[in-house]
Amino acid sequence: MTLRTPHRRHRRGTDRRPRLALTVTALFFLLLYLPIAVVVLFSFNGQKSLTVLKGFSLRWYSAFFHDSVLLESLGMSLRVSLVAMAGSVVLGVALALGLVRCRTRLGSLAGLIMLVPLITPEIVTGVAAMLLFKGMDITLSSGTVMLAEITFSISYVTVILRSRIAALNPEVEEAAMDLGATRWQALRLVTLPALLPSILASAVLVFALVFDDFVLAYFTTGVDPQPLSVRIYSAIRFGVQPTINAVGTLMLAGSVGLVGLALAIPRLFGRRGGLDLLSGK
């Protein structure tokens, strides 16, 4: 706004802060963080109570680290997330490269297939995956969770990478080829390094998403061990143990840390635009 008319109505109109909107925003942030604060606070509660806060103790954390069932679940969740991250990043990056560069009918079909998980409620993909495994007589286990999570995460990786690849200047690749590189060499030595921040960011994000995922894991897991989020689900359904507050706090800290890392990666690489999460474009 460089031009400013000495118009009273105008001045009042543009400069006034929208008090109602500000109040709603403040209330929204309060309610957004209150539940998280409650979980964190009660994880340090000295009492078993979930309503009265009294004393500070780490007993629920120590209870978690002595609970072999929960620890086993933690291990399984970590394994599943790692495998799903590796698998979906490899498949997703390749798919994204193909989708952006390949303008054939197969390309547009692949683009449509990739969107399916994003417009299908998770319960449907969960039910479908479970039926597929049961139909093929595959016993549900950590392996089936991994397969289902990879399927789901490919879309995330592809969506994140697609916009970054489209933003790359294809002439750089062409220049590499004019200098004698094969297309494959150009891809490996020029394009992939340029995409590295986005690839890392999407990998970290997929890890966090898979680790926290509940619905898909719930439908595709076997009996023993079960992913941590499935254990939490049964725990909060059948009478709450305060240990869950401690586990929940650790998981909150973990995913917040990972998402923070994913957002920070482009900056660590000294350039902008690794994840388009925030711009919404």
Binding site: V24, V39, L95, T120, D212, I236, S255, L258
Partner: protein, 300 residues
């Protein structure tokens, strides 16, 4: 114009793009095959099993039987479906009413804290859904801070409950999915030409008039996208109804879950899943028609 490159390959512009196409196709293939094998095939399986039956032992059998589809006419299912639709739509409306001022404040008055504030909204959304829901249910419980505050200002009496009621379920859905409304609205408000607002003011529109006749129409695509993004997961959710509602507030997701785990009637569960997908598909079609109309108007 063909030329020999140091690597010895014969290339010209057309040859280059042809070999490229082959590479891109090969890159695309594994992911596409994977998605087709695991996702599309499994979705087809659900659709097929909806026509199946269960044998006396309770095992699912494929068939060509419309009993499960006919069962969808059962009033009990209709009530649950309508309730789910109602909850999801109310949750969308509440999300819109709450998210709009939030997105507006951040986009137009956030200044240099814009990105920080949006990150503060997005990051907790990535935290475990169940843990957040559980914390939310503690906050909304009868002795919790929200009801105590409402009672203190006289907006609630001693009998008012949030949990174990439809309000609780909607509150759960809103808390779970409101970020899907804020992000597209924020993006739309960010993109919006702010001089439009000034123009509205110059034409002697009051703040409210300008808002309803300028700002809101300019961002309605963001609102529509947000509504779809909230509606989809809200319809399929079963955690909110389980933790925040009672047995009287179950949604279609709870029915599906029940048919697959407790009831062990997979064909019926599949039919319910297809019913839900049909409702969502109609919603999506409406959205697509709306946006296409908007685009056509914008092009004119």
């Amino acid at each position: 114009m063909a030329q020999r490159t140091p690597s010895g390959a014969l290339r010209d512009r057309r040859g280059r793009s042809a070999s490229g196409t082959r590479l891109w196709t090969w890159l695309m293939l594994p992911g596409t095959l994977w998605m087709t094998g695991f996702l599309i095939a499994s979705l087809i399986l659900v659709a097929t099993l909806a026509l199946g039956t269960t044998d006396p032992l309770g095992n699912p059998r494929f068939g060509f039987n419309f009993a499960n589809i006919a069962a969808m006419a059962d009033p009990a299912y209709r009530i649950v479906l309508l309730r789910s639709l109602g909850f999801a739509l109310i949750a969308c409306a509440v999300c819109l009413v709450v998210a709009y001022p939030v997105a507006y404040t951040i986009a137009l008055h956030g200044g240099r804290f814009k990105n920080l504030l949006i990150a503060a909204i997005v990051v907790p959304f990535f935290a475990n859904y169940l843990v957040r829901m559980y914390g939310w249910s503690v906050v909304l419980s009868d002795g919790g801070p929200v009801l105590r505050a409402l009672r203190a200002v006289g907006l609630a009496d001693a009998h008012t409950k949030i949990l174990q009621s439809g309000t609780g379920v909607v509150a759960g859905l809103v808390y779970g999915f409101i970020v899907f409304m804020i992000i597209p609205l924020y993006a739309a408000l960010e993109r919006m030409d702010l001089s439009l607002i000034e123009a509205g003011r110059d034409l002697y529109g009051g703040p409210l008039r300008t808002f309803f006749f300028v700002t809101l129409p300019a961002t309605r695509q963001g609102a529509a996208a947000g509504a779809v993004l909230v509606f989809l997961p809200a319809m399929g959710d079963f955690v909110s109804a389980q933790l925040m509602g009672g047995p009287d507030q179950i949604m279609i997701g709870n029915l599906i879950q029940d048919k697959f785990f407790q009831g062990q009637n997979w064909p019926l569960g599949s039919a319910l899943t297809m019913l839900m997908m049909a409702v969502l598909f109609i919603g999506m079609l409406g959205y697509l028609r709306r946006t296409r109309k908007d685009e056509a108007e914008a092009a004119r």
